[in-house]
Symmetry: C2
Amino acid sequence: MKPHRRIGTRTEELMDAIRTRIASRALATGDRLPSVRAFAETMGVSPSTVVEAYDRLAAEGVIRARRGSGFYVTGANMPPLSVGEIGPRRDRAVDPFWVSRQSLDADGTMAMPGCGWLPAEWMPNAALRRGLRELARSDSSILCDYGSTRGSLKLRRLLLGLFADEGIEAGANQLLLTGSGTQAIDLICRYLLHPGDTVLIDDPGYFNFQALLRAHRVEIVGIPHMRSGPDIAAFEAALHAYRPRLYITNSALHNPTGATMSPQTAHRLLSAAAAHDLVIVEDDILVEFEPSPSPRLAVLDGLDRVIRIGSFSKTLSASARCGYVAARADWIDGLVDLQVATSFGGPSPMATELLADVLAGGSYRKHIGELRQRLARSRDQAAQRLASLGIVPWTMPRGGFYLWCRLPDGLDSADIARRCMDEGVILAPGNVFSISQSAAPFLRFNVAQMEGDRVYEALRIAMAATR
Amino acid sequence: MKPHRRIGTRTEELMDAIRTRIASRALATGDRLPSVRAFAETMGVSPSTVVEAYDRLAAEGVIRARRGSGFYVTGANMPPLSVGEIGPRRDRAVDPFWVSRQSLDADGTMAMPGCGWLPAEWMPNAALRRGLRELARSDSSILCDYGSTRGSLKLRRLLLGLFADEGIEAGANQLLLTGSGTQAIDLICRYLLHPGDTVLIDDPGYFNFQALLRAHRVEIVGIPHMRSGPDIAAFEAALHAYRPRLYITNSALHNPTGATMSPQTAHRLLSAAAAHDLVIVEDDILVEFEPSPSPRLAVLDGLDRVIRIGSFSKTLSASARCGYVAARADWIDGLVDLQVATSFGGPSPMATELLADVLAGGSYRKHIGELRQRLARSRDQAAQRLASLGIVPWTMPRGGFYLWCRLPDGLDSADIARRCMDEGVILAPGNVFSISQSAAPFLRFNVAQMEGDRVYEALRIAMAATR
């Protein structure tokens, strides 16, 4: 009897493990379960035990077999989609929403070295105020109407000029203005993905890509991110193994690492993508922050299978709520319809008029130049002060505002982040960026939000307390 | 041989019919095919013929059986989602995108009696200009930051005050500001629906609901709309037959008919919804346009299973891009996360500050009162002038700007709309509002866009030419 009982117990343990993953939304409706072989390896059991567990869960209706393609989670009695509940939800749960929840709703008393934007006083306030007074005199159509489906032609032309400077020759029909950079990626996912498709992201990579993709009910595969860009061997292996539809990345000033893709990696990545008919979304929201342009996938590829995403939130104003997509003209046509169906239009015509005004104004280049210099100084200073606490940058970025840093041995960034929260300091702990949860010793710092002693003092106290 | 050949032929005809529906996107990936019995009845063939056709298409990989739940369209080699291609796409195809495509991108030379908004000069331009000058002096956080995840507390409090006047007592945690009314509905659909769910809409009903729902890969069932609201017997029958998850409607000043739900229909509808655990989205975007409030589902229900949607696009400014959702607090929590994941926040803090300023200003009530009076005059005038052409309102609405009118016998509104387009007049032909395509003799007119003779003259010419 003993072996039989033991097999039964293992099977039930496996079934419980799967039920827990479904309850906690680690596996959502429509998600494919791991292959029998992979799950057997992960759990250290024989494949036959996994087969038995899957068959019994299928009999219960919890999962369902599809001919030739494995087992899927059914939607039976599923409560509403809750993208935040990737793990069990608690106050201050350190999940991909940690940073957004804490920083977007922070009151003015918090320090925010974990947030992903510049302080409001670093933005071109004088130019924005001048633009608003100008806007008060503009046509009633700009003040009151929905605007055209692709967004302000004036702003699109200015963007196309910036693209041309980088070497991208594109037409106005290859550009769509959206309500934000995130919304641009969301539209692309809706347009190109079907539930159950596989999407590659970087590990570590921007946390909101995970949250966004979960809303699309797709499988997410992480590609280890190196100092020269994605691990190209892992990338090629993933193309073979998973036949992904999309890869979402930042090539330069990567979020969170600050790394910049090497020309060799960029070329090899595009060749592999072409061989596997993979579409790439290059989120280039920090394009203006590099001292000189590094290789861009959109430039090399000429907007064929690479889609460029951008926004004005980091350079001019996040409050304006305007992003954009540059892509093949036929894809833009499809995205236009989709944006009308789901938002009845793009960004505010008032906001795009204001942005165009500031962008075309004489002070824009000067503002960007000053931001770069100020960030270079802040970066050096933050790196030095963090080093004195034993917190060391993984790489020194060429620009932007992020520093991806490793804590002294044995310290867990989620612990440190929870403790710093009690001191009124919002951090960005490593694992919110890691689909494999392998970045526990890391923190992402925003050097623009670290003036004064407060952040360093909170870190010192938290580190001392957790040792 | 003959009977055998005939059976073969019928099977192949059925297979072709299904292939055509898939190619034209009438059936999209993941859509469930009609049941064998239903499809046999529709096509006038025996169930065994349908079974044979389904089995052969499944063998080809075009559709796929799921145990116990019928046949589904597979995604094999499907091109990207194209919500506009519900029917074959042509220039000026009269589909649910006809009105949006034509009116949003119209240049200033077109007359737009088919569009869904007021002329910019009817909006409170002076108050908006004053508000923009005020905005130019506001805090840099309003000009530059993302804003809180639920949107401006100032604007939410003003809205809650308006709700209280109607009899809805709700807390600030029951309200989420969004980028538009449409985006509010889109978030709700993402939160509550799974692909393959069934959703009820009105027939005729607002065309963009069809376009939006198609992006969610759900089944759409139309409920005939009467002068007292939805046909309640058909509504109850649909609850039994399809177990829908959601019903999306306008209770008062219904788009396109202008009808207002009777108290009896409202009560019976809510009782039926409770019995079947149906959630109702009440799109109340024209709430301010009634001379006195008629029964609202959200008021009767107290925001339990009814979700209220609204926007400022029809009363203050569409350019501000701001809508809202009022619902149960736990649903709002889920929608907040979803809006962060897919848009990284809600409407522009600048825009919500501007709207709050105008809404709180002394002139708001006066502006709304003037709009109502002006619309009442325009409605009477348009009804008279249309009647002289033999075009007769189906009902006389209590407010708002729509007149749903029947053409003289034998005339097709899509023909008239195509011809009027050549005269620079954009119409809203009946079938863009009808999931059953049963509204060909109807047109929706926007009485605020019909000053002067141009629209009437174009209609006269088009009607004469098509007779």
